[in-house]
């Protein structure tokens, strides 16, 4: 019994040694999130416009109701989002919007540093989301 006990503790002590820690010295050191991490949204640009066709599926599926879309017709007669805003204060980063999108126009990036000072700064407009 003692043998097993020592074996277990040895693993614990091993992790205490330098080079075995999982935490990093944030913000001096930053981790690279995994590819499937659900951070800040990004609207995918196409050649001369956004890929989004304003189909309203993301605001419909959004459980936090944080997406505002207003569709309009551009000069070519295509449907495009005149307004596309995500209220990051309400977003729960569930990723349903990405899942619902029929044209893969929205994706989630690894950006997770979203803290800010003013409420308005959490309104991510189309221009900000396209960056």
């Amino acid at each position: 019994m003692f043998k097993e006990f020592a074996k277990g503790l040895s693993i614990t002590f091993k992790h205490l040694l330098p080079g075995h820690s999982t935490t990093v010295q944030y913000p001096k050191v930053k981790l690279t999130p995994s590819d499937r991490f659900r951070g800040l949204h990004r609207l995918v640009p196409a050649q001369d416009r956004e890929k989004c066709v304003a189909c309203y599926l993301c605001p419909t599926v959004c459980p936090a109701k944080c997406i505002t879309v207003e569709s309009a017709e551009n000069e070519k007669g295509e449907k495009y989002p005149e307004v596309y805003t995500i209220d990051m204060l309400r977003c729960i980063f569930c990723g349903y919007c990405v899942e619902a999108c029929p044209v893969e126009a929205i994706e989630m990036t690894g950006a997770y540093e979203l803290a800010n000072y003013a409420r308005e700064d959490f309104e991510f407009t189309k221009q900000r989301l396209l960056k």
């Binding site: 066709v53 189909c55 309203y56 599926l57 419909t60 569709s71 449907k79």
Partner: protein, 826 residues
């Protein structure tokens, strides 16, 4: 009745039912694309295939196969599912994947079925359609790449609307729906095809990219335009009426609408709507608070009543409850000068029908028209005044082989149909034709004179209306006239239609009386299934008559009020929901009346030409912003429901009238429309039978489906007087507009934006005018310039102009007569 078994369930249906309808009855859903309730069975999509045991298990379409006794039907089996899935695959071979940008997405039948069948892949490959879209017209957008060739648009345009805009062209894979010569759409833009398209191939352009179907709140209300009383389902998003939704489940119109109903809603959202009360200070109208405006209005009206008196002129677009409150205001103010809609046009009902039949309403209901054997339409074929009744007439002719007789000065739209006969008369002499028909019936012993008073007197009075004389005078063929009279008398079910409204003031009483005489002699009046229909121009014309918005006691009528005002004998006018300057006959005298009246209060949606002259302007609410009831031309009381809030501080007419009555010293207060409706019942016995909250989706008809005449008294009317002059001008309603309010709506104005002068090709050639040229029209001491519209509808020497457009000032020419002699020059 026929008994059959569907999926093991016994069902008994009528022998005319199809398998699809029988299945629907017991709640079994068979997928369909091309089926539509109001259209003839077609069987284009092949989705509804079912198996019938008696047919050796072959797959047959449920929507076209009539039921037969003892039939055993299976609606789902592995084989059926497999076939349906394959049909879906065939349809999706060349269907573009537009769902994200297609406005139909979310309520698309094809999308729903594809989801139901779980169609995610396709065994077949083919080229996707890449046809050009038709976006030329401002109302209906056609994208034939999305079409599934169900043919619903083709059929509705033909069977219901009677226009026949579409057809299938080309063959095989190339088949598509197109207009003649595959040009852009140029039709009457009723949008029936839009409402029936199961996919996104035909869409309403004003609604393009505005919202998704699931974001829309649906509010069932009644159209605010004509007296037809169609149910319109407002599609509301963010406190704005974005579209009119298709709804064939409720209402009297079976989902049918005309351009005004479907595309004419946008005046509700117009940016020129009045949002704040205005009061004239130092010659300028300035915005003030409600309390001040109401106080000024109340003080001014009360002061006028102390002096030479005040008068109230109302439109017929107020709800019954609001009309009741208006009457309360008149009572509180102590004035007997009260009238609606110009005071002349509705007299056919209040005087013509009242005197003869003892009732002041149509005697039948609209659904009965569809089953009539003979239909007589007087003065127009009804299509331009009440388009949806026109559709009913069209269906009666096509589906039930009815005979349509039109006594009018111009040909109508339904003229092309085989069972239509237009008795083309000189304008203003329709009366003589009706009289002659009465005489034919009396002379030939076909008249039903039991219990009818005044037969001899009428016979004597009609001495001058012999066939030959009338034929000579009116230009109607004598034999045709005689046949028409006989057909009408011999019909099992028959309907006589006559529209009334502001542009049809001349001879309104006389025509209605003559029509009532004819209805009595043919036995139409009071007979089950038949009816005499007098249909008002405004949504609540009948309600205004029922509630008695008429001169009280010795009070002045509309004309008398305006005349008194012009002479300075009336101290105040209160105009509610009307624009007399734009729509009443004899504009110059109206202008004088408005100028001379010391105090003018106008309550309207817009700063109309009349409102610009006012001392107080009160902003009112549109039909989409209020609750209440409208009574349509067939006596059907229907609920109007609010879908949106009024812009700014605008209030409903009911609220304004209640406050005004309060300011004038009335202690009456109601808790809502239901309470007022109950109160109406105390004054109008016919309304007492109904409870406001129990008025269902079909509305309630006062007096029953067939209103029994209280008396049957023939009253002789003299014939019309033929107008001299080179050209005879008649005014009226254009198909695209209703009253003056529709000229503020984008849809109707997109199709027809200005007044025109319609004339026949011969006249146009004689005058050397082409379509679109300006023509000088002079008559009645005025001269106007109107754009020429050359057509086939009118006979030589007759010209027509619609009255809707305020800028054209057609009412300077039109002074209330049935026909105006004019001179035309280029």
């Amino acid at each position: 009745m026929v008994n059959l078994t569907i999926d093991g369930t016994q069902v008994t249906v009528s022998k005319t039912a199809t398998i699809y309808e029988a299945a629907k009855e017991i709640g079994i859903k068979i997928p369909v694309l091309c089926y539509a309730k109001k259209l003839m069975p077609y069987g284009a999509c092949r989705f509804c295939l079912v198996q019938v045991e008696q047919m050796k298990g072959r797959l047959i379409p449920a929507c076209t196969t009539p039921v037969s006794e003892g039939m055993v039907v299976t609606t789902t089996s592995e084989e059926i599912e497999k076939v349906r899935k394959t049909v879906m695959e065939f349809l999706l071979v060349n269907h573009v994947l537009d769902c994200p940008v297609c406005d139909k997405g979310g309520e698309c039948d094809l999308q729903d079925l594809a989801y139901e069948f779980g169609s995610t892949s396709n065994r077949f490959e083919g080229e996707k359609f890449d046809l050009p879209t038709d976006e030329v017209n401002p109302l209906i957008e056609r994208n034939m790449n999305r079409c599934v060739l169900c043919g619903r648009c083709v059929r509705v345009c033909d069977e219901v609307v009677g226009y026949g805009s579409y057809s299938f062209i080309n063959r095989g894979f190339e088949t598509k729906i197109a207009t003649a010569y595959d040009r852009g759409l140029s039709c009457e833009f009723c949008g029936q095809c839009v409402s029936l398209c199961p996919v996104g191939a035909i869409l309403p352009r004003p609604f393009k990219f505005k919202a998704r179907p699931w974001q829309i709140k649906e509010v069932d209300s009644v159209c605010g335009y004509c007296g037809n009383g169609c149910t319109v389902t407002l599609g509301v998003k963010d406190n704005k009426v974005e579209t009119i939704r298709f709804n064939d489940e409720i209402g009297v119109n079976d989902g049918n609408l005309c351009i005004r109903g479907r595309f004419g809603y946008s005046y509700v959202n117009h940016e020129d709507r009045l949002t704040k009360p205005l009061v004239r200070k130092d010659g300028q109208l300035v915005e003030v608070e409600w309390d001040e405006a109401l106080q000024v209005a109340a003080d001014g009206l009360a002061k006028a009543q102390q002096g030479q008196g005040a008068g109230i002129l109302s439109g017929a677009r107020l709800t019954n409850e609001e009309l009741f409150m208006l009457k309360q205001v008149a009572k509180t103010l102590g004035t007997e000068n009260l009238d609606n809609s110009g005071g002349e046009c509705y007299k056919g009902v209040t005087e013509g029908l009242k005197e003869t039949l003892g009732v002041a309403a149509s005697t039948g209901t609209f659904p009965q028209i569809e089953h009539a054997d003979v239909i007589l339409a007087i003065r127009s074929d009804f299509y331009e005044t009440h388009p949806v009744v026109g559709m009913v007439v069209n269906q009666a002719i096509r589906r039930n082989e009815a005979q349509l007789l039109v006594v009018a000065d111009k040909k109508g739209k339904l003229d092309k149909l085989p069972r239509e006969k237009t008795l083309l008369s000189q304008p203003g002499l329709e009366l003589d034709v009706i009289n002659a028909m009465c005489k034919v019936l009396l002379d030939e012993g076909l008249a039903k004179t039991d219990g009818v008073d005044g037969v001899e007197e009428l016979q004597a009075a009609l001495a001058d209306f012999g066939l030959a004389e009338v034929a000579k005078r009116t230009g109607v063929d004598a034999a045709a006239l005689q046949t028409a009279a006989k057909q009408l008398a011999g019909a099992g079910n028959a309907a006589i239609l006559l529209a009334y409204g502001l542009p049809y003031q001349g001879l309104s009483t006389e025509l209605a009386t003559a029509a009532a005489n004819l209805a009595m002699l043919t036995g139409i009046a009071g007979r089950e299934g038949s009816g005499l229909y007098l249909c008002g121009e405004k949504a609540n014309s009948q309600g205004a008559i029922d509630l008695g918005i008429l001169p009280q006691g010795n009070g002045l009528g509309a004309r008398a009020m305006l005349a008194a005002a012009a002479e300075g004998k009336l101290d105040a006018l209160y105009v509610v929901a009307e624009d007399p300057l734009s729509s009443y006959p004899d504009r110059d005298s109206i202008a004088k009346s408005l100028e001379n009246v010391p105090f003018l209060v106008v309550q309207d949606l817009f700063l109309s030409p009349t409102a610009e002259q006012a001392d107080v302007v009160l902003p009112a609410a549109s039909f989409a912003e209020k609750d209440g009831t409208f009574t349509n031309a067939e006596r059907r009381i229907q609920r109007v429901r609010h879908g949106i809030k009024s812009p700014g501080e605008a209030r409903s007419d009911g609220a304004i009238l209640t406050s005004l009555a309060g300011k004038l010293g009335s202690s009456l207060a109601f808790t809502g429309s239901a309470a007022i409706f109950a109160e109406i019942g105390k004054e109008v016995p016919a309304y007492a039978a109904f409870n406001y909250n129990e008025i269902g989706p079909q509305g309630v008809v006062w007096g029953g489906e067939t209103l029994q005449p209280a008396s049957r008294k023939l009253v002789a009317v003299a014939g019309g007087v033929a107008a001299d002059g080179d050209f005879k001008l008649v005014t009226g309603s254009a198909l695209y507009h209703s009253g003056t309010i529709s000229t503020r709506a984008k849809g109707p104005t997109a199709v027809l934006s200005e007044a025109y002068l319609e004339l026949c090709r011969e006249d146009a050639a004689d005058l050397k005018v082409a379509d679109g040229d300006l023509v000088k029209v002079s008559g009645n001491g005025t001269e106007l310039k109107l754009k020429a519209k050359v057509g086939n509808r009118l006979p030589k020497g007759v010209v027509f102009t619609p009255y809707h457009f305020a800028e054209a000032q057609v009412n300077r020419l039109y002074k209330g007569e049935a026909v105006i002699p004019v001179k035309l020059s280029k």
